[in-house]
């Protein structure tokens, strides 16, 4: 563990916490800032330094093989707190825009300070005519200016506010804290340079011509996607599509002779991986990525035969079935005549002629006063595969789950299993008691990725319910 100046921090407490069992291991760093752990059980261990969760890394233990992992962690709690305040959303913020592009250095207005933001590239060359945005999230205001021929954009901003700085497409390139006094001028230099590539956007399909060798820049994340066939061979000349989540944009590239497709991706987004004959394969999460972020992912291509050879998959009647008719019952039945009892509502109609009659018997069940129901013994089996990342599915699931947990009674017993290619016990079977908060924390930590294989999780869930079965229920 080191500080921002890469100086080792001695005698600081490091805690590992298993994400599903909540089991903890604690130790303090030695004089070299080093601490060793031996992990013999559990699956995913989160890291805390001096009580602060280290968001960038989770240690995953492999059941089958033993291995050694070395991590270098930078401890900077103030920076962590400040970065947590930033958002990458821009379109939904409904920001008021204030144009300061005509501003020149000089007297500051009362209650304001001046800041000169100099933009250079990584070689130190001044960058002119770059669009710089300074955002105040609390006041929903965005100040806009451009760098002049000295590479400087000038802003006058109200004091006592937090600001985030975007340079062109590099969102949250830096920030300003709320401690600058009024009447003064401050200077800040930011490094911004774009990748050496041509990007073409044809009706939201984006293709990139990237000139190699690749030189890493801070404005976006380079991402390698390596495609293999199930026999391990390289999968070359195949298209890879990355669908930006919550947007219509699709990044497209063709794998090279090594099965590799390279993308240069903007920060702050999630991307769903799609192949020609395999949909929603996995997700690339750059939601919190900044600066030097980069990534690589190897995926085995398992073409879906139904997509590859549709002519061999002529639908059977069973697959043509419409959703059950009861799904189309949407208008509630009239209020109950016998409160506290199941009720019957009857109506008839003739679908074609007077020679036939359809009787609809609507049965509505009584509503129990809360607290009167029998305790539950429920095991949830949640799909956390990459395909759940799209269309806000996992976010809605988490939000709904939280609401559900809040309605449970202390005697209710639940367990939660997650699955992707593998299964994970998120919360072992136990009575809710006073653990609502802990369960909600666990649910919030779910991040979608991986393939879809439900069997193991489903079997484990049944076993868990069976072990604690309550025959009366």
């Amino acid at each position: 563990v080191g500080d921002v100046n890469i100086k080792p921090i001695a005698n600081i407490e490091v805690t590992l916490q298993e994400q599903s069992t909540q089991q903890q291991m604690k130790a303090r760093t030695n004089s070299n800032g080093k601490v060793d752990f031996i992990i013999t059980k559990g699956k995913n261990w989160a890291i805390f330094i001096d009580g602060y969760k280290y968001e960038q890394e989770v240690i995953e233990r492999d059941d089958e093989a033993s291995s050694t992992l070395s991590l270098y962690l930078t401890h900077n709690p103030a920076l962590n707190e400040r970065m947590k305040k930033q958002t990458f959303a821009r379109a939904d913020l409904k920001l008021k825009i204030i144009d300061q592009s005509d501003l020149s250095a000089g007297e500051t207005k009362p209650g304001h300070f001046e800041i000169e933001i100099k933009v250079t590239n990584s070689a130190g060359r001044l960058q002119t005519e770059k669009e710089v945005h300074v955002l105040c999230l609390d006041n929903k205001t965005m100040y806009v200016s451009f760098t002049n021929d000295k590479g400087v954009a000038i802003f006058q901003l109200p004091t006592r506010q937090f600001y985030d700085i975007d340079v062109e497409e590099q969102l949250n390139a830096s920030f300003i804290n709320n401690d600058l006094p009024n009447g003064y001028t401050f200077y800040k230099t930011l490094v911004y340079d774009t990748y050496d590539m041509d990007e073409q956007d044809l009706q939201d399909t984006i293709t990139q011509k990237i000139r190699l060798p690749l030189i890493k820049k801070n404005s976006r994340a380079p991402y390698d996607l390596i495609m293999k066939r199930s026999d391990g061979s390289k999968c070359s000349n195949e298209p890879v599509y990355l669908n930006e989540v919550n947007s219509k944009k699709v990044y497209m590239a063709i794998t090279d002779s090594n099965g590799k497709a390279l993308f240069i991706l903007p920060f702050g987004k999630k991307y769903l991986v799609n192949f020609n004959f395999q949909k929603d394969v996995d997700v690339l999460n750059l939601t919190n990525a900044r600066g030097s972020a980069a990534g690589s992912l190897t995926i085995t291509y398992q073409p879906n035969p139904a997509l590859e050879f549709p002519e061999k998959f002529i639908p059977t009647p069973a697959t043509l079935l419409l959703t059950d008719f009861s799904y189309y019952h949407t208008t509630p039945y009239p209020p109950r005549q016998n409160p506290g009892l199941p009720d019957i509502f009857l109506r008839t109609g003739s679908p074609t002629n007077k020679k036939e009659i359809v009787l609809e018997t609507g049965i509505s069940a009584l509503h129990l006063p809360s607290g009167k129901r029998l305790p539950l013994n429920v095991s949830f089996v949640l799909d956390k595969s990459g395909s759940m990342a799209g269309y806000d599915r996992i976010e809605s699931l988490k939000e709904g789950f939280e609401k559900l947990i809040n309605q449970l009674l202390p005697d209710d017993r639940i367990s939660i299993f997650l699955f992707d290619d593998d299964m994970q016990l998120l919360f072992p079977s136990s009575k809710i008691g006073d653990r609502k908060k802990a369960i909600i924390e666990l649910i919030r930590s779910i991040e979608p990725n991986g393939g879809t294989s439900m069997l193991k999780a489903m079997q484990a869930a049944y076993a868990e319910v069976k072990n604690t079965i309550c025959p009366r229920l």
Binding site: S350, N353, E360, T361, R373, Y391, R393
Partner: protein, 198 residues
């Protein structure tokens, strides 16, 4: 209630048969609710996994619908309030039973129709459709419908009865032979088409 709740889009690496076989040993004691997530979830698989009689298949596309499903319905679903639900109908003269939709096992003895229904959950509304042929355009006796069930809270068996006068309705619709509540019509068409496909 002992329940497993599955939430997935249902596109699994394994076949439906394998998954259905794996849950089979538990079906007698543990219910299964299957919730299809996403607009194009695998209905075929989810329908097979949701247990017959006691389990439910629900559909929740995404976004708010999914949130609401959890917040409002999930608790109800985990705990049925009535089991062994049986519907009985005394078929009046002039009507001939042809088909029932939304029920499990059907028995007809004389003019008495009985069928088993899925378990009832709190705040749930369960439509059952029954098709009759009208013989000689005449059915002037009321149609009696009753529901018998085991109340899960009191542990007692209870019955509710309701009736409908067919002759009134016949008169009301005689000028307009296709008069039928729009929602009932839609439900009947869907039930009919599904039945033809099977």
């Amino acid at each position: 209630m002992n329940t497993v709740i599955l939430l997935t889009d249902g596109y699994d690496e394994r076949s439906a048969d394998e998954l259905v076989a794996a849950q089979k040993p538990f079906n007698a004691t543990i219910a299964c609710t299957a919730i299809g997530v996403g607009k194009d979830y695998n209905y075929d698989l989810m329908k097979q996994l949701a247990s017959k009689g006691s389990g439910l298949l629900l559909f929740a596309a995404e976004g708010k619908e999914l949130v609401d499903l959890f917040a409002k319905n999930m608790l109800n679903l985990a705990s049925p309030i009535a089991k062994n639900v049986q519907i009985s109908i005394t078929i009046p003269k002039g009507l001939q039973f042809t088909k029932a939709y939304g029920v499990n096992t059907i028995d007809i003895i004389g003019n008495k129709f009985t069928a088993m229904l899925p378990d009832l959950y709190q705040d749930m509304e369960l439509p059952v459709l029954i098709h009759f042929l009208l013989i000689n355009n005449k059915a002037d006796q009321p149609l009696l419908v009753s529901i018998n069930y085991l109340n899960q809270i009191t542990g007692k068996s209870e019955t509710v009865t309701e009736h409908i006068q067919l002759s009134d309705q016949n008169n009301g619709s005689s000028n307009n032979p296709i008069s039928m509540n729009a929602e009932l019509k839609k439900m009947y068409v869907v039930a009919f088409v599904n039945d033809q496909l099977l």
